[in-house]
Every structure is written in C-alpha cells, then in structure tokens.
Amino acid sequence: MLKNAFLMLVTLALAIGGGGGSVWYALKIQDGVGAIRIGQWTAFPDIGTPAADPYSKARVAREGVLALGRAEGLSFVAERDTAGEQLKRECAYKIEGGFPTARFWTLYAADQSLGVIQTTKPRLAALQSYQVLRQPDNSVIISVSKRPSPGNWLLSDGFGRMYFVLTFYDTPIASSTGLSDVTLPLITKVGCDA
C-alpha cells in the first residue's frame, strides 16, 4: 500500500516537476526556434506575430514584450565575436562592414535583459546611422571600448556579459524574402582589460 503511494508520488513529481521545469528552461535560454542566423547575428522575424511558434508566444507573454512590426524594423542580437567567444563588457571590439538597406539603423550594447547597459558616464552606449562616419566604400568601422577612440566610438563599461543589438528601421529585409542575401558587419575582439 505504502509502496504504491510512493510510486504514484514519484510519477506525479516527475511529471509536474519535469514538465514545468523544462518549459521554464526552454523559455530562459536566449536561442530558440524560428531564429535566423547571419554571421554572429541572430534575428527572430516571426516573434510577436500570430504566426510565431508556441515557445516565442510564451516568451512574449512572460516578458511583456511588444515586438517590432514588419513595417517598423528588425532587430539582430549578437552574443559572440567572430572567434566564437562570448562578448564581454571589459573587452574592446571592432564592428566592421557594410550594412543592409534601411532608412536608418541603431546599434547599442546591451545587458542580459537586452536593455541598454548602464554606464557611469552621460554618454549613451548607443549609436545610430545618421551620426556615423563612413569609409569611401560606404562601410562603417565602429570601435567599442571603455576609452574614447577616433572615428565611431561606442561606449561600453563595466564587467560581465554583453550583447550587441542592431536594429534596422523601415527596411526591406524585414520581409522574409529579403533576408536570404544579407550580410552583416563582423565583430572582432581587439583586446581585454585584465
């Protein structure tokens, strides 16, 4: 009798604990179903639309996200550099390359929650395309560092993991057909503060 009750308890605990825990874990990890990868950058074009998969839908509901619409823009998130290492706030990076067609784009350094990182300085850790200097071939070189640098400087500060969020506004690549031959800038590590 007691053995039966114990077995039932094991079954129920496994079912409820395992089921609930696996959902929680699946929603917590950054990567997910429906992602589009271009180099180091990841985008979720379907997130927040009625066509999204159940995992994205649950994530939208849990985090209270109001995702950008197709006519507004498309966000890409990078969490690793070209060497495959995680981006760190104490390191300096160079973001270099051409950007796809868009009315304008914004780039910012983000923390785990994808909000802009809080720096101790009045300067925002963000850049936008109207204010950047361009190379003769229309590509852009951005230095990400704690210290000011010539050209385009994106301030980063503090310690811990960092993400880059690159958002294109009013862009043809937001429609699914445009994403096939898009190239995005490369992120290379320049050095780290010990």
Partner: protein, 182 residues
C-alpha cells in the same frame, strides 16, 4: 524494481504532456504580459509612456534606447478608436497589438498622408458601417481593420540625439487616443 521503472517511465511521459499543456497555457494566464503591465499603469484610452524618460521604471520593456514610445489600450466593442499625434519628428512608427501582445498591423510615417499620424482602428463590421458614409474629417486617416476586441496601440519615435528629446517628447505627449463617435 520493475514497478519503479514503470513509474519513472510514466512520469516522463507525463512530463511531456505537462510541458505541452504548460507551454500553451502560459500566454493565457501570464500576469506579466504587456496588457497586464499597462493595465496596472493606466486606464483604457490613456496614453502611457513606455520609456523610462517619463520618470520611474519603464512599464513595458521598450527596447531601443534611441527611441521613445507610448501605448494606449483600447476595446473595440466600445466603438472604434482614433489616434492622433501632431508635429514633425524624424521617424515614427505604429504597431497594433492584440490582447496577448501579437503584432497584427504596423506602419510608419512613409505610409501616412503628409507624414501626419492620424489612424483609426476598427473591426471589419465597423469598417462596413464607416464605408457607407465616410465623414469629412476621417478622409486622410489610415484605417486599420483588426478582427479583435481588446488591443494595444503603440507609437514609437526616433530620437537621433539630445536636441530632439524635447521635440519627440512633445510629439508623444500630445498624441491622443480616443473613442470615435460614429
């Protein structure tokens, strides 16, 4: 021993079922979704700033730091809702979300006549009524036909640099979101 294995196997199958059920129920029962957060901050048809600039923590995670955003909740069973925003800003875009935060329609300032934000959200049934006799002052408006009852209307506006902050703030604070009599 065999009975324990049986119990574990049953538990794993059960876990799979619970996983699916929980996953599908999260959007239904979430109290942290955008609608719930907004309803804690303000009433229906009230324009609410989403960014932290207005003071206090942001209501809904508004992602881009170079953007300001406002939202208003509406209920189309009360009637159609009209949103206006005066002024000229470098870029604005609008999204209409349903009750569970799905983006069902979006447009930006290039879509609008003379780049003026003047939009009406209404159900297909209300659209038929409006089409019969289009009022004079609605002729330039963008009509968003949405097969929903409750929804959220979000205006986002680009802030290129410091100097645009007051202008964009004014643009969003002067926007209106109201029930349109028809």
């Amino acid at each position: 021993m065999r009975r324990l294995l049986h119990a574990i196997l049953l538990g794993l199958v059960g876990a799979g079922m619970v996983h699916i059920v929980v996953l599908l129920l999260v959007p239904e029962f979430s109290e942290r979704d955008a609608w719930s957060r907004l309803s804690m901050a303000s009433d229906l048809y009230k324009i609410t700033r989403l960014d932290a600039e207005a003071g206090g923590a942001p209501v809904v995670k508004s992602v881009d730091p170079l953007f300001y955003a406002t939202a208003c909740r509406f209920d189309l069973t009360d009637g159609m809702v009209r949103v206006n925003a005066p002024g000229n800003v470098p870029f604005w875009s609008v999204s209409v979300y349903d009750r569970s935060g799905h983006n069902i329609y979006s447009f930006n300032d290039h879509t609008a006549t003379g780049r003026v934000l003047d939009a009406v959200v209404l159900t297909p049934a209300q659209m038929i009524e409006v089409r019969k006799d289009l009022p004079e002052d609605l002729q330039g408006a963008i009509f968003v036909e949405a097969p929903i009852d409750e929804g959220i209307f979000v205006i986002r506006s680009f802030v290129p640099d410091e100097s645009w902050k007051p202008i964009v703030s004014r643009f969003l604070d002067q926007s209106s979101c109201e029930l349109q009599d028809f």
